[in-house]
């Protein structure tokens, strides 16, 4: 294939700025999809992706446009999957920067755009949704010029919804984005930027050939995983997967190599030929690191083996979450799981319930603390209930995030308040224009995972956007607060909080649990304790009266059914000692507002 006729691109955009809709239009324009088969968000294959309107798994598609091949690589639209964005950008020579003409530049636009600039990618900027009455293209162009240095007259104006301006955008891609370079005769180097598990074919990897030629039947070496697999099938998505005999430099396609675990073909992996290997892998490979942890427990203890099986299966498809068995006094046998972020955690939990029909309890999310105990030994604790006794602890350090927040300047006060209340440290405050502000804050990850994003959205009426990256560990004055139900500590409710906030936290938590735990046949005292000292308490009062007045012939089966139904509802609850605790108490108790 003539390299000069190839363009490899990704679309980068803030969530909801219309990336998937633009991809749909491009597919139509290039005749890739029969109009009868067209559906919205064509490339988002999971139900969850369509429902939430986000891309979780990457897809690439090969389009024909004006005698050129355009490989469009989709990028995930959420900050949890930032590493995957960087991998997919590494497979391209340029990006379409898509900005909502009504909203302007948002935090993720900025973060992804900086990433593209760092990777020396050509940027074609386009304002989307110009058909909206609220669109303000002049202001947005000016913003793009001032903040990103892209001349306003180079910014295209399109409507992905109506298709207006999309042909011109594709023209600009062909004209402005450079063709890939690569040596077809060099040893093979191909970059995997996504892998997913197909129950019939095993692992299907998306990759970009950098040098050499990838041939069907070749014996391939996966350099970081140090494994050899035969290439069973090589091909391209048009978007229907279509086998090709080989892929040359600059080409993007898929590879099936009889692999059963996506962990062996992770994003960032370099594939070479076993008989004529490259000397060096491509740069940039990173093990995905979980940032947020929680316990997952089956509501019904008998489902434990099935939960393990389901986690195994899910991990075939998503190597970025981790799990290890753990035991909770309150919840029994379960798993400690690590995730890239909160959304990732919710997605895994939801997929377990939906695709594997499990009823599970997720405990409150936690971060990994670095605890220095007497004598200087350091241990990592990702489950607050496993914190050593306070007397043995010399220091607790917690992970921090460097966050970037963009918002209309009217909300500056509200955002500063929020960040202060979350123990944030301001690093940057810059006016992007008289109306828009960029804030940089260093924030403890633990504060962010609870409800920071929800709070930010609600305090700014949805106008603020957030992006973040890890920023190391810092020691803090942290303590463990235990929660006791009917006098017994419930390990699953233990939490690590800042000492100054512990009483406030204890009061909020006991009050929230009082609302969430249904009344029982007896009073249920709820206490929050620091060390052995009770710092807050509340009580779920017992039923005063719960008896049917009339129960005669025809009432019996009716009433029985009603009580059975209520009991079914209770099956969604976990009995902790004698107390029935609903599922949502474990996670929503921490969303204190």
């Amino acid at each position: 294939m003539d390299l000069s006729r190839i363009r490899n691109i990704a679309i980068i955009a803030h969530i909801d700025h219309g990336k998937s809709t633009l991809a749909d239009r491009m597919l139509e324009l290039c005749g890739a999809v029969d109009p009868r088969d067209m559906r919205a968000q064509y490339l988002d294959s999971m139900d969850l992706e369509r429902e939430r309107g986000i891309t979780i798994k990457l897809q690439s598609v090969r389009l024909d446009y004006r005698d050129h091949v355009v490989n469009l690589i989709d990028t995930p639209g959420h900050v949890d999957f930032g590493y995957e964005v960087s991998r997919s950008l590494a497979a391209t020579e340029g990006v379409i920067l898509l900005v909502d003409a009504a909203q302007g530049i948002q935090a993720q636009t900025l973060a992804n755009c900086y990433l593209a600039i760092e990777n020396d990618l050509e940027i074609v900027a386009a304002l989307n949704k110009i058909d909206l009455p609220a669109a303000d293209p002049e202001r947005c162009c000016e913003e793009i010029e001032r903040i990103l240095g892209i001349p306003a007259d180079q910014v295209l104006r399109i409507s992905a919804k109506t298709g207006e301006g999309v042909p011109e955008l594709l023209d600009a891609v062909i004209e402005r984005i450079p063709a890939p370079k690569g040596d077809p005769d060099a040893p093979l180097q191909a970059l995997i930027f996504d892998s997913h598990y197909d129950q019939f074919r095993g692992v299907v990897s998306s990759l970009r050939v950098m040098n050499g030629t990838l041939r069907t039947d070749a014996k391939l070496r996966f350099m970081q995983a140090a494994a050899v697999h035969p290439a069973e099938e090589v091909g391209c998505r048009l978007p229907t997967p279509t086998p090709f005999r080989s892929l040359g430099p600059g080409e993007v396609g898929y590879l099936i190599a009889g692999i059963k675990d996506v962990g062996e073909a992770r994003s960032g992996e370099t594939v070479t030929e076993a008989s004529n290997p490259a000397t060096e892998p491509l740069q940039g490979y990173q093990e995905p690191k979980p940032m947020v942890f929680c316990g997952l427990y089956p509501i019904d203890g008998d489902e434990y083996p099935r939960l393990r099986e389901s986690l195994d299966k899910l991990r075939l498809n998503d190597s970025s979450f981790t799990f290890a068995p753990e035991t909770s006094g309150a919840l029994g046998f379960g798993f400690r799981c690590g995730f890239l972020g909160l959304l990732h955690m919710e997605i895994v939990r939801e997929r377990l319930e939906r695709e594997f029909d499990l009823s599970i309890i997720a405990t409150a999310p936690s971060v990994a603390y670095r605890v220095t105990v007497r004598g200087g030994r350091e241990v990592t604790v990702d489950n607050p209930s496993e914190l050593p006794p306070m007397g043995e602890i010399e220091q607790i350090a917690e992970p921090y995030l460097q966050t970037t927040i963009l918002a209309p300047s009217d909300y500056t006060g509200a955002i500063l308040d929020l960040c202060q209340s979350k123990r944030g440290e301001m690093i940057k405050l810059e006016y992007l224009s008289p109306e828009r502000i960029e804030l940089g804050y260093k924030l403890p990850l633990a504060e962010v995972v609870i409800d920071f994003f929800d709070q930010l959205k609600s305090r700014t009426q949805g106008y603020a956007s957030l992006d973040y990256e890890p920023a190391g560990y810092q020691p803090g004055n942290l303590v463990k607060v235990d929660i006791l139900l009917a006098g017994d500590p419930v390990d699953a409710f233990s939490s690590v909080v800042h000492r100054d906030r512990s009483e406030e936290y204890g009061r909020a938590m006991t009050e929230k649990l009082r609302e969430l735990i249904p009344r029982q046949q007896f009073d249920v005292p709820i206490q929050a304790a620091l060390g052995g000292r009770v710092i807050a308490r509340s009580t779920v009062k017992a039923y005063r009266k719960d008896v049917t007045a009339k129960l005669y012939g025809g009432d019996i089966s009716r009433k029985k059914k009603l009580l059975e139904k209520q009991k079914q509802g209770k099956k969604r609850m976990k009995a902790i000692g004698r107390v029935e605790v609903p599922q949502e108490a474990f996670i929503s108790a921490l969303r204190l507002d």
Partner: protein, 348 residues
């Protein structure tokens, strides 16, 4: 032994707290109703295999909405179809406004042995709130009229009505010489006018009402034998006691439920379908022991625990002070009666 429940679907007015399937009476409907009832009694006769009927209960609806001639025909049909025992308890539910001395005597002559009067309250204010068409005077007169005959006399009272003095209501009906008193806390059923109006009953008020009923009636010589039922010695309702003891019964009428021998349950499909010959499909109760315990716990004297089941649950409820246990007999404590639904749900 077996029992018979007859559903009479007619009412003079529709009460705002009632969730039952009832109709305003029309002559043509009553005739058709009695004809269909006759047919259904024939069907029951075939299934009942000659089992003696120990109790008959005419409920509704408001059975006294039927004329005495119609009631006579209905009872004749029952006796022709089924072997009703000579000493059977035959209960008639009546509206106070339908009662006078002469009707009461006729009912006795027709073989009615027990009359249940829907007094509800002796306060005109409370009755108005309940949307009842009778006043206090009428209710008390009705009790007097029935007492003059030899039948067992029950008064139904509703508690927890705003502005009601329950103790005064109970004292007033007791003073009329009743033998039996059923006291029901006002229950807001879904899809009733009360529910739509957002009427609510406070749990603490209900709790106090239940305690007050037991206290006032106990002091007057009544024995509480079920959550809401109180009787002078020898005057318990045999039919209702049968429900709670897990006896079998046949149900006839448009929305009647039966629980026939072999634990076969049938619930009729409602007036129009029933009139066309529609009947409830038989279903077998999956675990009759559960149901026996579920209803049996409503009896103050308690219920026998089946061997080898629920011992752990019972131990826990005993430890919580909600049940008492003597041998295999379990009964709800005073505290347990107040939360009996959640206690009973343990066994579901």
């Amino acid at each position: 032994m077996a029992m018979l429940y007859v559903h009479v679907p007619f009412c003079p007015t529709i009460c705002p707290f009632c969730s039952f399937h009832v109709l305003r009476p029309r002559d043509d409907l009553v005739g058709a109703y009695l004809d269909e009832l006759g047919r259904e009694l024939g069907e029951v006769a075939e299934r009942s295999a000659g089992a003696a009927i120990e109790t008959v209960y005419l409920g509704g609806g408001t059975p006294s909405q039927l004329t005495d001639a119609e009631l006579g025909r209905l009872l004749d049909d029952v006796r022709r179809a089924l072997p009703v025992a000579p000493d059977a308890e035959v209960t008639l539910e009546v509206h106070p406004g339908h009662v006078d001395r002469s009707r009461a005597r006729t009912w006795e002559a027709l073989g009615i042995t027990r009359v249940s009067v829907g007094v509800q309250s002796t306060s005109d204010d409370a009755l108005r709130r309940l949307g009842r068409s009778h006043d206090a005077r009428t209710a008390l007169d009705a009790l007097d009229d029935v007492r003059g005959t030899g039948v067992t006399l029950n008064a139904d009272v509703i508690s927890c009505v705003e502005g009601q003095d329950l103790a005064a209501d109970l004292a007033a009906v007791v003073a009329r010489g009743i033998d039996h008193c059923s006291v029901y806390t006002l229950t807001i059923e879904p899809d009733t006018p009360f529910a739509r109006r957002g009427v609510r009953v406070d749990e603490e008020v209900e709790r106090r009402a239940i305690l007050t009923a037991a206290e006032v009636l106990g002091a007057a010589g009544f024995e509480r034998y079920e959550v809401s039922n109180h009787a002078r010695p020898g005057h318990r309702c045999r039919h209702n006691s049968g429900y709670w003891a897990g006896e079998s019964w046949f149900g006839v009428g448009p929305s009647a439920t039966g629980h026939e021998p072999g634990h076969v349950r049938r619930t009729n499909p409602g007036f129009e379908a029933w009139l066309d010959g529609g009947r409830g499909a038989p279903t077998v109760v999956a675990d009759p022991e559960v149901e026996r315990l579920f209803t049996g716990l409503r009896r103050i004297e308690g219920v026998e625990l089946p061997d080898g089941r629920w011992d752990a649950e019972v131990d826990r409820l005993v430890a919580d002070g909600l049940l008492e246990r003597r041998g295999r007999t379990i009964r709800a404590t005073a505290a347990g009666v107040l939360v009996l639904d959640s206690v009973a749900a343990t066994f579901l």
